[in-house]
């Protein structure tokens, strides 16, 4: 049977996680409790973290840190995080957003995990604490690669927070989730783009996709063709041409891999051009 332990500090939770293979962190509950309710998770220990640091947001400065236990609703309530509101609002309905956390979203299986796509486009790092030591920052891309390799990313330790550099200009950050059902639906795909510009030209743009690979992925081909270019028709056309590089979408109940590939360039083009979906 399942037991539950409450941990007053992140270190305590990290220590238990590293020592007990049957221990599992529970934050908002939207992933773990479903597994409990449906009988996939019947043994082990659920760890609750009551440490306030787990729910802390430092969003005022250039370097942003959001605790892994911060909910989507808390993101939406934070004006300093306005550039992330579209991504936070893409997660579930209001009740889910009251519960679902940034940290949980990092573990959500495709085609879920749309908030992580936004973090990926922001070049976020994941703070992972293994054992009782202190946390270390891992590039989100590496973290996701580890998740894809190892199934549960939990083996890497306790995710305590995510960090990233705040976009200079919030309007440089774009996010769009394509779903069949409105206003709330599971992803056909999602796209996030951070497009900082200098002198009318894009500088090191970062673009990420959800549901186009087993885990959220960077669109390196798109980033390459956009880098150093003005965001004009020609650049958008080139981005659409490069859109599919590296994609490995799945066929699932929502859409086929074929369809995902067909519409990704379309939606990327519309997003970059500032057109409605």
């Amino acid at each position: 049977m399942l037991d539950v332990r409450s941990c007053a500090t992140l270190s305590e939770a990290a220590g238990i996680l590293s020592g007990d293979r049957q221990a599992l962190l529970i934050a908002g509950g939207t992933l773990v409790m479903r597994d409990v309710n449906e009988g996939r998770l019947t043994e082990g220990t659920l760890l609750r973290v009551t440490d306030p640091a787990f729910r802390q947001v430092n969003a005022g400065g250039a370097r942003v840190e959001i605790g892994a236990g911060v909910t989507m609703a808390a993101v939406l309530a934070n004006r300093d995080l306005a550039y992330l509101h579209a991504a936070a609002r893409a997660i579930g309905g209001p009740a889910i957003r009251t519960m679902a956390t940034i940290g949980g979203n990092l573990f959500a299986e495709t085609p879920y995990g749309d908030f992580t796509v936004a973090l990926l486009a922001l070049g976020a790092e994941v703070v992972v604490q293994a054992g009782y030591g202190s946390g270390r920052a891992v590039p989100l891309e590496d973290f996701l690669a580890g998740r894809e390799r190892g199934g549960a990313g939990q083996a890497q330790g306790l995710v305590t927070a995510v960090q990233f550099t705040r976009p200079q200009n919030p309007s440089d950050f774009l996010f769009r989730k394509i779903s069949r059902v409105k206003p709330k639906g599971i992803s056909v795909l999602s796209i996030a783009a951070h497009l900082p510009a200098s002198g009318g030209r894009l500088v090191q743009p970062r673009v990420a996709y959800g549901a186009m690979a087993p885990v959220p992925m960077r669109a390196r081909g798109v980033e390459r063709v956009l880098d150093g270019k003005p965001l004009d028709q020609a650049a958008i056309q080139a981005a659409k041409q490069a859109a599919l590089e590296g994609t490995r979408p799945a066929t699932d109940a929502i859409a086929s891999d074929w369809y995902r590939r067909e519409i990704l360039p379309v939606h990327l083009g519309r997003l970059l051009a500032g057109e409605p979906r």
């Binding site: 049977m1 399942l2 409990v36 309710n37 449906e38 009988g39 019947t42 043994e43």
Partner: protein, 578 residues
Amino acid sequence: MLEMRKEIFADERDDNLNVVGKGVQRQDMPGHVTARTRFFDDHAFDGLLHLKLVRSPHHHARIRSIDVSAAERAPGVKRVLRGADVPVNKNTLLSLINFGKDDEPTLAVDKVRYKGEPVVAILADSEAEALAARKLVRVEYDLLPTVFDVEEALKPGAPVVNETYPGNYFEYHQRFDHQKLRFGDVEAAFARADHVIEHRYQMSPIEHAPTETNGTIAAPDQNGRYLVHSCAQGLFFSLDTTAKIVNVPSNQLHFVGGTVGGGFGGKVDSLTEPLTVLGAMLTGRPVRYVLDREEEMLYGSPRGAERIYVKDGLMRDGRIVARYIRSYFDAGAYTRLSSYAAIKCTAHVPGPYSIPNVASDIYVAYTNRCPSTAMRGFGVTAVDFALECQMDRLAEAANMDPVEFRILNAYRDGDMKPHRRVAKNTALVECVQVAAEKANWPISEQARRASSLTGGGGERAQIPATPLDERGQIGRPDTRNGPATQTLPAGTTRIPLSKQPVFEGARDGKPAPVQVPRYEAPPRQNPPPYDPAIAPPSLQPAYQPAASAPPLPIPPAAPAQPQHGAVRFSSVFGTRRR
């Protein structure tokens, strides 16, 4: 937004009513908004056990062994049920009306025929304990070849899904692998039509997806009875099915329900009642068995898929002169209610249009998927999709506006329908006219003047001469393309008209208080006697012209039978229960 058009058909109604016709508040609404409405699961019982199923992970497999010993020892587990524990472990839903053979176990014994088929039931003190114990059940399977396509399933050599029906089709009238409809000569009409247009349509399976999943609570009551909180769409239908499977007299079961969180057809199969009652009987404890959402989605019996071929003969002036439909119901692994849908579908062909030559062959095919069942529009929704898409194509081929085309071909009062009954009380023309008007879809003066009350009958009331055939004899796929065997003369009917409805209660001799239902006088024809329960159809005269037929005698009452079930009468179609 709803608008009433009282002036249309006003002369056929008396609108001087007190409360009928008024938009007064629903009796159940205060309960709904205060959350006081009690659904089946909204009842507290002390000592409640929770039932969870082990289901087949395979689409088709032989069960080599089932080991429940570890599960039986697991914490909180009070009982583990296997097929052998089910008193009558073979049933078909329509056995209650003597239609079809028992073909479905409550818990699989020798093999599983679809992914998700129930194999073992676990009863424990909590859901969590039942779920944990579920992981401890060991079932070994030998995989069997599968078939998922309805037409593949009917080919010789296809894997046999359900041994009760070894040809993978439901058997109609102990003669055919499908239900026929024959009215006029479609082949001759195709030959002289200006266009012959044939297309294939595929209705998808649909999950009913009521927000309340299927479930039951059963509790031992006083006097050896069991109180059963049920979400069934047919209370006695479920009670009788349960009584048969757990093998108790029906009055040992006290079913309470009637307030259901959505059904749409998904709660007619008694998916949970029998096992829950059995669990309560064997443990002496109240038992709750509720499908979780994934079970409801994947194993809660969907609307069956249907594949429909429509072939039409069309004249340049837009008249449809022939329609032939070949349709396949995907029953999944067991019959449930598909056999009935095929009959209903046959009655619905060719849609609300007057077509002088119509034929159809409706098959029910077994495949290795979750058994399908009734859903909102059962037997009709899919055909309407096919027919109305086809109508759009025909209108285009005739170079006609789709609205004009519907009105031209619409059935009207007095038209003979292909199942050889006269259409009455029709209103398709008026619906099309009003919809076009509100949508601002311009139509011709002629179409605007059309009426359901005129233009029907006369020549359109005649039953044409009809070629018959013996295609699709049971066990003989080689006969599927056989020739016509004989021609029924024009005007022939064989089935007695329905008896007057029984409308009992007002025997006090008092004047009728308000309008009461009227039932139409039977038409003047006197069809010949026909009762396949007394004599199989093959022993009947091949045909009998209506004019020479004797008056219809009143059939004798069906003898009482000792089996379970609310309604008892002899088989009227299909294969009789064994």
